[in-house]
Subunit: 696 residues, 2 copies
């Protein structure tokens, strides 16, 4: 049985009890019953209310114990003070799922959180899952299952379709579903997790990934509270080739504050969540329209592994705009082959045959030109995706004839992604959607959605990365290691530091410097002096033996002056690395996702531009190299503008070893900072110059 099958009684029940059932169809205890009665839920529906014998035409029961059978799920719509006894009754009865509308728990205050934890403990002991509390519930229009008090159905019922929604926010989940419905987009299954006392949005994603009636998953999240469920869910979705589009809010500090006050959720580090989403090819939507655009386009299930865009139009004009958008997204718009261009130009002398392909107003005289031109794009041009920009032409009288021609091409070449940018009334839009076109009004949004399909395709086709390096077991010291100890510990995992030697005498220092070659760096060595630079305890560019001797004396003198009682172990002499690119490699333990590796360019890049990338640990060298190449400043390492190419392979090796080290070190490791690491010219390695390890 799969990890997520345990949610089936909750999300697709055969029988339902409603605790706090109301005869008033507008109250939260009345709405679910009214909805399911109106829409014809097929299973048993048991109102529970000690004061009524009949509710909305159904027999009502005085208590859970009185029910004629154990329902799969119970909707709890009782006041907060009656919630705990209700959960106990349900657990006793052996109910497998609870949808808990009742509010007044963790979202309120600390006392509420304690009450919530107690209820969840009761449920867990009984093997009963709770959605909520303080949640808007779940609905699946295909099963006429409405365990929700959302008032959104006042304005209409869902359009059946193959998008499943999982949302932490009830208000936003129904906002999204309503937007979809108004656009004729089928999103008929929607789970809203509220406080996530028990069931998380991650688990809901996993259950949707295993649901045969869902092809695409749309997610709204404010903060991820639990990693294993989410990771398993993302793996399940990827295995099933089901794209996930996610709107993750709480990006800003302001947003994080609001997230905490709103759903008592741990907003976590946005960059970390972003990294996990990128790892699994989840598309991060910027707003709810983009989310729906992309989810809807994805229901065609065409995910080009190597995407390319051909544009057909009969009126020009938007070609520049479309090219701009494609270029900014990195979506290829190759030109048509020259012989195909010639063929089209022979047909229509003043056509634009390159791409965008413009058949011109000649189409008015001969509508079969639409077919000829589009066919040439598909067959000769070989584009994976075809976008027709017809704007308000699609509302004109010539449109039915054009549509017919387009459909011929589409039917004969069903393996492409077909999208139209048109301005039409809903009936004409629905016709085109039924033909198999994806309809977007705005060409910018159309191109964005097409590009997303290629990203999904590339994600699904990606082969698993190289395994993470194997590193020996790590035994962390009892207290934070010194720089030298940290480097030694890291060296066991194959992480190289700049050649250096701890020297207790001035002669040792001179010998070490001569061995490394000048110039060298000298640093005071003392367990009691942590911030060496601040006391002048670091000397750069030490150029010869004489300078080593005078430097040695100077460092001891400064240490003594700054910290008279400090223990002095001597002086560290290290090779000074020249010609390398300064990078930063790091680890920090995220409370949800565990150790996360970070890579960036050093100095101003990380400080001012925040040009860094994160990844869960551990990972192999190919993932590490992809991380390195993904930052904005990567050209600096790749030999931009006549610079020397840096040793990317050595850098990637170090980063992947660091990720394996972090896992091997276990929970006791809070963070590692290798700053700077010098990436030397190709073939000359990468060396950590400073290393700080913090324990948790």
């Amino acid at each position: 049985m799969s990890r997520f099958a345990g949610l089936t009684p909750l999300l697709a029940p055969r029988s339902i009890a409603v605790l706090g059932a109301s005869s008033d169809a507008t109250r939260i205890g009345g709405r679910p019953i009214a909805y399911m009665r109106a829409q014809g839920f097929k299973g048993a529906l048991y109102p529970v209310n000690p004061n009524r014998s009949e509710i909305q035409g159904l027999k009502a029961y005085a208590s859970v114990a009185d029910l004629p059978e154990t329902p799969d799920v119970a909707i709890v719509a009782v006041p907060a003070d009656l919630a705990a006894p209700a959960i106990e009754d349900l657990a006793k009865r052996g109910v497998k799922g609870v949808v808990m509308f009742t509010a007044g728990f963790a979202e309120m205050d600390e006392a509420g959180a304690v009450k919530q934890d107690a209820m969840v403990a009761v449920a867990r002991a009984a093997g009963m899952r709770i959605l909520g509390p303080n949640c808007l519930g779940v609905f699946d229009a295909r099963r006429s299952y409405y365990a929700t008090f959302s008032s959104s159905f006042d304005s209409g019922w869902p359009v059946l379709g193959r998008i499943g929604i999982a949302s932490q926010s009830g208000a936003y989940g129904t906002h999204l579903y309503t937007l979809a419905r108004n656009r004729g987009i089928g999103a008929s299954l929607c789970v809203m997790t509220g406080n996530e006392g028990d069931v998380t949005v991650g688990e809901c994603i996993g259950w949707l990934a295993e649901n045969d009636e869902v092809d695409v998953i749309a997610v709204y999240a404010e903060g991820i509270r639990e990693a294993p469920g989410l990771i398993a869910a993302l793996e399940a979705a990827r295995a099933a080739k089901k794209p996930i589009v996610m709107q993750k809010v709480g990006r800003s500090e302001l947003g994080e504050k609001a997230a905490k006050s709103h759903t008592a959720s741990i907003a976590g580090d946005d960059a970390v969540t972003e990294a996990v989403m990128r790892e699994f090819g989840v598309y991060r939507a910027r707003n709810s329209e983009e989310m729906l655009d992309i989810a809807h386009t994805a229901t065609r299930k065409i995910y080009p592994v190597s995407n390319s865009l051909g544009v057909i139009t009969v009126s020009g004009g938007a070609g520049v705009l479309i090219s701009d958008v494609a270029e900014s997204l990195g979506l290829a718009m190759p030109e048509m082959p020259l012989d195909a261009q010639k063929k089209l130009r022979d047909l229509v002398p003043f056509c634009a045959p390159r791409n965008p392909v413009d058949a011109t107003a000649q189409v008015s005289n001969d509508v079969t030109l639409v077919k000829t031109f589009t066919e040439s794009m598909v067959r000769d041009g070989g584009y994976a995706s075809v976008l027709g920009f017809f704007s308000m032409t699609a509302s004109s009288r010539r449109w039915p004839a054009i549509r017919e021609q387009l459909n011929v091409v589409k039917t004969e070449n069903p393996d492409r992604l077909y999208v139209l940018s048109v301005i039409v009334q809903p009936d004409r839009r629905d016709e085109l959607e039924a033909d198999g076109w994806v309809v977007h009004e705005d060409p910018t949004r159309a191109v964005t959605a097409i590009d997303a399909m290629g990203r999904f395709g590339a994600g699904f086709a990606a082969r698993p990365g190289a395994p993470a390096p194997v590193v020996p077991a790590v035994t962390l010291p009892a207290s934070a290691p010194s720089e030298a100890e940290a480097k030694q510990l890291l060296a066991t995992a194959g992480i190289a530091s700049a050649p250096e030697a701890a020297c207790s005498t001035v002669d040792d220092a001179v010998r070490a410097a001569e061995r490394f070659g000048f110039p060298v760096v000298m640093k005071i060595l003392s367990p009691d002096i942590l911030h060496k630079s601040e006391i002048g305890g670091v000397l750069l560019d030490v150029a010869d033996a004489g300078a080593v001797r005078s430097g040695f004396a100077l460092l001891l003198e400064r240490a003594k002056a700054a910290a008279p009682s400090a223990r002095i172990d001597g002086v560290l002499v290290a090779r000074q690395l020249k010609g390398g690119v300064e990078c930063i490699l790091g680890i920090h333990r995220d409370p949800v996702f565990g150790p996360m590796a970070m890579f960036g360019l050093g100095g101003i890049f990380v400080e001012v531009l925040k040009d860094v990338v994160f990844h869960r640990c551990p990972f192999g060298t190919d993932t590490a190299e992809a991380m390195i190449r993904s930052i904005k400043g990567a050209p600096l390492l790749l030999g931009a503008r006549g610079r020397q190419k840096a040793d990317i392979a050595a850098l990637a090796d170090m980063l992947s070893r660091l990720s394996a080290f972090a896992v091997a070190a276990g929970d006791g490791l809070a963070s590692v900072d290798l700053n700077p690491v010098f990436a030397m010219p190709e073939g000359e390695g990468a060396f950590a110059v400073d290393a700080v390890i913090e324990l948790g």
Copy 2:
């Protein structure tokens, strides 16, 4: 008379002739007549066609000469080979404006461009303005003036309103207007300039800026071909406090290519156009929906100079999302005053009173809470902009009561910008719009539009910048100056270089170095060696007198080895600047906008990250300082992370002087590169270390 009044006969005529008039209401010579007949154009309409005596119920004339009066405007819909004689006839008759649909000119080939130029010359000699050729024309629904063959009216007539559209592309102009109409947004005046043989989109913007029936201007441009008209237009719009929203395409290389093939337009440098738009507070829209969102919001004519956003909701959930968007745009969302928070919490114990303010579902029991809470936001919170997120609540049965409460607050406090994010059917949307609310479905788009109003407000309120520095007349040399000559020329404008001296003897060099202080930089001085670094002709870190002596000999030796016949003038000795931040200042002459100044951080910032800013020349120090502060890397100059603050004042002074120098130098100046310029710590100045001047 204003600069743009000459377009009035063309864009708001009292009488119209149609050359190539057709009895077929679907042909390009038939549509304008059909449209104006259907909509009741008030002035005279004269079909011209030598083969018919009557067209669409109107008396037809055989020729322009036969017309009973000289029309204000003539629509030319004749075949390309009849266009030139038609223009001659019209010029002879004294017609003031021509709307030229006919295609086959500059958009086609070089021969077409020649024909187009000839027609424009004829028109200009006669004081006649041409819109087009190859244009879709112009319409103004308020006057029932339809000099266009756009088929977009097949699906409906424009909604009257106060947005004017100017578009270079006909297809995109009507796409935009149709989108507006379908959303119930009033954009009833639309000019499409096509090939711009004569009338430019800039002039059309200017005419709209002076048109009393237009409050907001929406522009679609592929490339600006003429600067003075555009600049005068932007000045006129700013003076009239009319916001401009512009979609400028051709951003990408791909896009620029397509732009050229599509409208024969010089796409120009996108960064330059962007700089001009920024200078005049033009909002650059990312897509047509954003353009309409912002243009429509702007028709309320509330442009807060100091914007702030207060959010009211009855269901929470989108608060995080809204906060994220506001934060990313830099739109302030201050918290409610503490006493106001207390007041609201006293009313509704579990409300969220901070901002977003959530009155909770308690509103169902007491709808006046909506008024109380919103009023507190407006009066106690003092927010310039108020956004109500009510999503599908606005489609529910409780909505009319909520709307009434909201309207009370709105009516009593009319000076704020009021926006709603709701999901409603068009009739309910139109009601709310009539109440004075701006309605957006998507909260992200709502926040973006609100933010744009603040940007307009700040732009309108901005005081004129300090005048550009006065610099002496510049006499450029006959050929490109050497580095030393360039620095001397720039010094006359007060642009400081690092202290340096041309030294013909080694003793001179030692004396100069001792005067400047060590270390110094030494460079070979020769008019025949341009790329000094490549032959090893630059020595850095020259540390003492001995090193100056050996360096002098080394440079002469290297120069001789690399270029035996080169004239050697000696060696340049310069102070080596330490501790400064490397910047780049430059000038390049844009073919459309003239000299443009550039500022960026040096090295990788300009090369890899393209982190630069442009501005038209000349400008004063406050503009220069704003440029400097606007780049991403600015924190480096402003003392980020414990760095020394750079001498921003000196840098701004140099940049503004450079801008004045560029203007004083006139058309002969092609470019200036000051790279690097060292911005020294505060109070220590800024110095150009290298200077290259290229002549045009």
